[in-house]
């Protein structure tokens, strides 16, 4: 094809021209209000730098590992929320849904001796049923999701109290569940997983670029693709290296090294969720329903089914998040998934760049936003601030992110010529 040939000769003549062109397009998108992951990345860099200067302990390998274990549950719940936010709805009950699901698993294991895999299965099933119920009420009866999930928020709080028998603490003893947030991947396996992740990403990116240019379609220059892959490799490599350092105070007694097990779990969920949202017709229908429900209906999309599925995915992932939280806390109590969990999760999604107005959001937003929330929580804890200050700061960051979202939306409308 002529365009392909043209771009290829251009590539040979000047390696920098297409890169500069690509960069110019990117700046154009930014100015048009399509900020992508930039605000979250910037915020993360600023926060990490500030905390590292004020509290050198922030940068230690031990604290770095802590960050992952602290942020994982909120990040996973936020991943689920993104599916609901993309269709323009909200799920305020996701926090307590995670608590209820974790309680189901904990009670089954602790009081009935159920093996961990069955208990986890039961928790996931509980999540799916919860999502189905919320989804049916929202899609079939057309009750605003805000109201349905606000009701569910209160009701699940009660269900949780009932399951754990009014204020008791159900402890988790199962070693497999405890390992999720308590154990690490052996160092060599960490390197292997990192290599697989970076290699897989590189393979996908390069084949896509090659396929597109072979069929004569516009594509990001190879140099940009290589840069992306390189950046990911450096980041992942540095992370694995830091986590593989000895974190134990007394290594002779007990060695503490390696990538926390939650990290590969989050990565697998991230890849699966991204695939579902960006590469399948179902994912596209979620965006369509969030963008223009009537247009989606006229295009033959079963809007009700799409909306119900989004709530099922959200509550299902909330169940996973609940189990991770239970693993970290070693127990489930009446406040599991309560207090700040839901707001941190919504905050993570919005800080990452998912829109509260629907039609826009990616699974990776949950990871970036979750990192921001975890860094604030962790760093301010290290500086000795009380919970009160932490809540105020996190709340302000959430408002800031929502403000950026609203402003970039206005900007996009203004530059959209209509």
């Amino acid at each position: 094809m002529t365009t392909g040939a043209l771009s290829r000769t251009g590539w040979r003549e000047s390696a920098l021209a297409p890169v500069a062109d690509h960069f110019r397009q990117y700046v154009g998108r930014l100015r048009g209000g399509d900020m992508g992951v930039l605000p979250a990345l910037l915020g993360l860099t600023v926060l990490c730098t500030a905390f590292a200067i004020m509290r050198p302990r922030f940068l230690t390998s031990g604290n770095f590992a802590n960050l992952f274990n602290q942020g994982a549950a909120v990040t996973i719940i936020a991943m689920g929320l993104i599916f609901v936010l993309v269709i323009g709805e909200i799920d305020l009950s996701a926090g307590f849904a995670s608590g209820v699901c974790a309680a189901v698993a904990a009670v089954l294991m602790d009081r009935h001796g159920t093996p961990w895999y069955l208990a986890v299965g039961a928790a996931l099933l509980t999540g799916v049923v919860i999502g189905l119920a919320i989804g049916l009420l929202v899609a079939k009866l057309d009750i605003p999701s805000f109201v349905v999930t606000l009701g569910a928020f209160l009701a699940f709080q009660g269900v949780l109290l009932k399951i754990v028998r009014d204020g008791e603490n159900v402890s988790v003893h199962d070693s497999t569940i405890l390992a999720i947030a308590g154990k690490n991947v052996t160092p060599w396996l960490g390197w292997l997983l990192a290599a697989v992740a970076v290699g897989g990403y590189a393979a996908i990116q390069f084949t896509r670029t090659l396929n597109r240019s072979r069929r004569g379609l516009a594509t990001a220059p190879m140099a940009v693709t290589a840069l992306r892959v390189g950046a990911l490799a450096v980041l992942v490599g540095a992370g694995v290296y830091a986590l593989n350092l000895e974190r134990s105070r007394n290594a002779a007694v007990a060695s503490l090294r390696g990538v926390p097990i939650v990290v590969p779990i989050v990565v697998v969920l991230l890849v699966a969720g991204t695939f579902l949202l960006r590469r399948t017709a179902f994912g596209l229908s979620l965006y369509a329903v969030g963008g223009n429900r009537e247009a989606a209906r006229r295009a033959g999309i079963d809007v009700d089914r799409v909306r119900i599925s989004a709530f099922v995915i959200c509550s299902g992932l909330a169940a996973v998040g609940g189990i991770v939280a239970a693993s970290r806390a070693n127990s489930v109590d009446p406040n599991s998934g309560g207090s700040n969990v839901l707001l941190y999760a919504v905050g993570a999604a919005v800080i990452g760049g998912t829109s509260l107005f629907g039609g826009k959001g990616r699974v990776v937003d949950a990871v970036l936003g979750g990192a921001v929330v975890a860094v604030i929580d962790n760093g301010m804890g290290l500086m000795g601030y009380s919970s009160g200050v932490k809540y105020i700061v996190t709340g302000s960051v959430l408002l800031l992110a929502a403000g950026v979202d609203a402003l970039s939306r206005k900007r996009a409308e203004a530059s959209g010529l209509r």
């Binding site: 004569g216 965006y287 999309i301 209509r418």
Partner: protein
């Protein structure tokens, strides 16, 4: 306007030599409760022609279009597609025949790009995954075949397009699916002068490609600029279906507002059973 390609010339000629019209309604009635909206409506739509459907507010244009598109079932009357009687009871059935409607409010998703919008609900997939490359190529080819050059990239979000470009995408979406009949509901209603000209040019090109185009419009200038034939609805009746060259501006306005056209020449087309003025002089 000359035909765009040899094939479209073939289409147009075969029609003039007596092939059945691509879509024909005979004696269609439609009531909503006590309100009789369409009364014995006849309509003939031919390939390679632009048929303008005009009428005042409440004349039944939208209802007629929804009956053609399978959104409303008709009470009585027959629906012939390429000479064969068919039953169109759902939008999907109409789409399967090759009848596409471009709605006034466009039905595009602002947050999706042009390719995603054109394939929405009918995505090409390979191994469960979206086949982005095939879809992007087909979308670009379709836009190119309509000689659309105003769109910079098919990966642009629809939100960033102008009104005329959106209309173009909505029309291209209808063309993409090899439709035979494209019905455009007020495509120029919200557009400026230059954009209206672009869209009308596109409408003409569709007909020259051999498609049957139905254009609903309130704007007589648009109608006379592109239509080959004009069908006039007045209070649910088809008062006239005439060649554009046989009528004047004021005659059509008279038909729309009074349902009568006393000065109309008769018998311009033997297939137009309703050419004659319908209402008797009071």
């Amino acid at each position: 306007m000359s035909p765009a390609s040899p094939t479209s010339e073939g289409y147009a000629q075969s029609d003039r030599t007596g092939a059945p019209p691509v879509l024909e309604l005979r004696g269609v009635n439609k009531s909503f409760g006590p309100v009789h909206v369409l009364r014995d409506v006849d309509l003939t739509i031919r390939a390679g022609e632009v048929t303008a459907l005009v009428g005042d507010n409440g004349a039944g244009k939208s209802t007629l279009v929804k009956c053609i598109g399978g959104i409303h079932p008709t009470d009585s009357g027959s629906y012939l597609f390429e000479g064969e009687p068919v039953k169109v009871d759902s939008p999907r059935a109409a789409a399967e025949l090759g009848v596409e409607i471009v709605y006034q409010d466009l039905a595009l998703c602002d947050n999706l790009d042009i390719v995603q919008n054109m394939f929405l609900g009918r995505e090409a997939t390979r191994h469960m995954m979206l086949d982005e490359i095939t879809m992007e190529q087909l979308a670009a080819e379709t836009l190119a075949s309509l000689s659309v050059r105003t769109v910079a990239s098919v990966r642009q979000r629809v939100a960033s397009l102008s009104g005329g470009q959106r209309q173009t995408v909505a029309i291209a979406k209808a063309v993409l699916w090899n439709s035979k009949v494209v019905i455009l509901d007020e495509p120029t209603a919200a557009l400026g002068v230059a954009q209206t000209a672009q869209v009308l040019e596109l409408v003409r090109r569709l007909a020259d490609k051999g498609l049957a185009v139905v254009l609903i419009s309130h704007n007589m200038n648009d109608v006379f600029a592109v239509a080959d034939r004009i069908a006039v609805l007045y209070l649910g009746r088809m008062t006239a279906q005439v060649s554009t060259s046989d009528v004047t501006h004021s005659q059509v306005v008279e038909l729309i507002t009074t349902g009568r056209g006393r000065t109309l020449r008769r018998g311009t087309d033997p297939s137009d059973r309703s050419t004659q003025p319908n209402g008797e002089p009071a």
